[in-house]
Point group: C2
Chain length 202, copies 2
DNA sequence: GTCTATATGTAGATAGAC
DNA sequence: GTCTATCTACATATAGAC
């Protein structure tokens, strides 16, 4: 390898292959061949497959945090920031139609495998959830987390169905509907959440 | 096996294991052990793993069609029928929180594997889509398919996030929000869909 | 129809030369 | 750091006895 950092090259390729073909379906041979190294060399950098998965999730967590920080910088207004989240469905449309959402599909696969790194992968969702929630808080919403989760619901649902039906017009339409929903919500007065139960014993 | 039909027992167990642990992660040994037959006997009934997958998808297609027919019988009003679709998120809540939506996770996995039976699995989505669309048509909506797809978006998004966060209150709340959305939609006048493009050359 | 035994391929993982 | 050779485990799949 002429690369300065083989380890980085492995993680980058594993990240891509895990997304495109799934974690379980991506073998050491697949990753090694794609990077251009032997399996033996592979094991010099990672002793187990779980180690690679951990590195990939760590990388995604870093990149997601960086993306959100970038959105914070580029869009001062919370309303615009939320819109950028919704629009990633358009920005990454081609990949989402082919492979689904990188976060949703990884968490789904690890849940099926009952994998110990599932909680770590779920932190990817939490990054978006908490960031969205902060934007709604900044807009004075008491039900910020409810709205944040609802936007996650819409984006995940669109990703799943975009992957199944591969219909660009559908994605654009749902993005428009989500933006309309956002406008509608933000034109209301802030609403207090009702307590979920009155009995203290439950 | 004391069962009358071993083949049926295999398909039934494979259906369950594919749902709980994924298609690729469920081996012949797993299925055979769970049913209580040897691997040799297994191959008497199914020559390849794809054959079992085909049988499982076929079974799900039949059961889904039967479920929709049952809803048609039990609920004459389209509005109530649509509500029943939304409420499967509550009915199957425990399973969805553990393993996600059976349809969404199967289609997602087969998409990753680029599996030839992906189109067949996607028909599961189409069954719900078309059925929902017919209900909205019965309610006089010109944009019936748009509304049907939107309900699929919501249910798939809730399933993905219920699987990740395992939060019952979240599921109940989103179901309520979906019902509210439905009420809001059905209290409007029917809306014509705009043509997606004016140019006939595109 | 069901079983045991076995063939064959491929996965993850290791040892040791260079 | 990188390679080749190798090991072990397990997956799909087959053959043939009962």
């Amino acid at each position: 390898m002429s690369r300065k950092n083989t380890r980085e090259a492995i993680v980058e390729m594993a990240d891509r292959l895990f997304y495109e073909h799934g974690y379980e379906h991506s073998s050491f041979a697949d990753i090694g061949d794609a990077v251009g190294i032997s399996r033996g060399n592979f094991y010099y950098h990672f002793r187990t497959k779980d180690e690679i998965l951990e590195a990939v999730i760590g990388r995604r967590l870093e990149q997601t945090a960086a993306l959100l920080a970038q959105w914070n910088q580029e869009s001062p207004a919370p309303r615009e920031r939320i819109a950028r989240f919704i629009e990633i469905l358009i920005t990454n449309q081609a990949k989402i139609m082919r492979h689904g959402c990188p976060v949703g599909t990884l968490c789904g696969e690890l849940a099926k495998l009952d994998h110990p790194f599932l909680p770590m992968a779920n932190q990817l969702f939490s990054l978006f959830r908490d960031w969205l929630s902060r934007q709604f808080v900044a807009l004075g919403r008491a039900d910020a987390d409810v709205l944040a989760m609802h936007l996650l619901v819409r984006s995940q649902g669109v990703a799943v169905l975009a992957n199944a039906f591969r219909d660009e017009a559908f994605v654009r339409r749902e993005v428009r509907m989500a933006c309309d929903w956002l406008d509608g919500e933000l034109s209301r007065e802030p609403v207090k959440i009702q307590a979920s139960a009155t009995s203290p014993t439950v």
